[in-house]
């Protein structure tokens, strides 16, 4: 399972295999409820596994999931 992050920004976005989407620069990122959050770091990691407890940001939870439940 995986979720497709919704990101509004002009910076480069790179999906890490089995992990988060890295977003460079300023952007607005939607959480699961559709609320927008501004990035606060030079590079931000956005959840793609759908299990983070710090939605919409990656908290490393994907590492606790079996391989088949990780994002591609």
């Amino acid at each position: 399972m995986s979720v497709e992050p919704v990101v509004r920004g002009t910076g480069e976005c790179v999906a890490c295999p089995g992990g988060p989407l890295l977003v460079r620069g300023d952007a607005l990122v939607e959480d699961r409820e559709g609320r927008e959050h501004p990035t606060t770091r030079p590079v931000s990691a956005v959840c793609r596994c759908g299990r983070t407890r710090r939605d919409p940001w990656c908290d490393g939870t994907h590492k606790l999931l079996p391989e088949r439940h990780r994002p591609a």
Partner: protein, 347 residues
């Protein structure tokens, strides 16, 4: 006493006043020696007489504690120095000579402990390989013990140990910056900008840890807890400093960074939960909260954009990247075993 002037090739006299030794007025006190070697170092630095280091050799260390403290003390001259110690000693040839001799001896021990990568081939995907190594690491977890059942006194003892590195968090990695090409350099700069608070001093990670120590009633002055530091804690510090100071070990510095970040998010989350379980919901919990999110970014940058790019350019660096990664796991396992044993928990 040597002359404070010298003559150039035309016979003109020049003053050496500009390099007259000046004792540092700030900085921590020198540590309590733990044997003859560290005592020799402390006495030489305190007296401003590096000639006293002549004849000192790593083989004269009375114990691992003694050797680690001697090396830690010499390396600290490149961070904050020590109150009352002349600043010129950082680059005195005898000081550097003993420091490097101690580093070589420790590097040899560390390489034996960490082992070499299996096979001669470099992984196709270095970044993923490092992250998989981190996931496969099954060393004892201090964070799991804090999350579930550690007492306030036990956590306080842990934080005092962690202060040895966390109060200079990311500083040794800064030495890696000038050794990189544009791609990995910009990734490291982005990572360090985050570590250093993105322009806000209060968000700087070691400043957040300082606030956390104050919340816990622990002396947050840089270097204040050194006399209670375990040898395992000292070795964690001397290792990352050695990787930073030697350009030759740039691969190990990058590998260490990647493994450190890749074993941080989930343990930091457990630490924050444990602190809140004990009723400490302020600055220290915020420090660990910050690491949950920040290190989820940093592990990707360090493993893929820094280590991956460095090994792509210089494939022979893989062996040292591997050393840096393994060093994080091996040294943390030793530390955790010692700490959990003192808590009466079998690692």
């Amino acid at each position: 006493m040597t002359s404070r002037t010298f003559l150039d090739c035309r016979g003109d006299a020049h003053s050496l006043a500009a390099v007259t030794p000046v004792a540092s007025e700030l900085g921590p006190a020198l540590p309590q020696p733990r044997g003859r070697l560290s005592e020799g170092v402390v006495v030489a630095l305190r007296s401003g007489r590096p000639a006293l280091l002549d004849g000192l050799d790593p083989v004269y260390a009375d114990s691992d504690d003694d050797a680690a403290l001697a090396l830690w003390t010499l390396q600290e001259l490149s961070y904050r120095g020590f109150r009352g110690v002349e600043e010129t000693l950082e680059w005195d040839a005898r000081v550097v000579g003993l420091r490097v001799a101690l580093e070589r001896a420790w590097e040899e021990e560390l390489r034996a402990l960490c082992g070499a990568p299996t096979g001669d081939t470099v992984p196709v995907d270095v970044g993923s390989t490092i992250l998989e190594m981190a996931e496969a690491d099954d060393g004892p977890s201090v964070a799991a013990a804090v999350q579930r059942h550690a007492t306030v006194d036990q956590v306080r003892s842990l934080l005092a140990q962690r202060a040895v590195y966390h109060l200079k968090e990311s500083d040794p990695v800064a030495w890696l910056v000038p050794r990189l090409e544009a791609g990995p350099k910009s990734a490291l700069a982005a990572l360090q900008a985050d570590e250093y608070g993105n322009g806000v001093a209060g968000r700087l990670h070691h400043a957040m840890f300082t606030a956390g120590l104050q919340e816990w009633g622990i002396d947050a002055t840089y270097g204040a807890t050194i006399d209670e530091a375990y040898v395992e804690t000292l070795q964690q510090s001397t290792t990352v400093t050695m990787f930073g100071l030697h350009r030759r070990l740039r691969g190990a510095a990058a590998g260490h960074l990647a493994a450190f970040e890749a074993t941080s998010s989930i343990p930091s989350s457990r630490m924050a939960q444990g602190l809140r379980r004990l009723g400490y919901e302020g600055a220290m919990a915020a420090y660990y909260d910050e690491h949950v999110e920040a290190d989820a970014v940093h592990e990707q940058l360090a493993a893929r954009d820094i280590c991956g790019a460095m090994v792509a350019r210089e494939p022979h660096l893989w062996a040292d990247v591997h050393l840096g990664v393994r060093a994080v796991f091996e040294l943390e396992a030793r530390f955790a075993t010692r700490l959990l044993d003192s808590w009466g928990i079998a690692a």
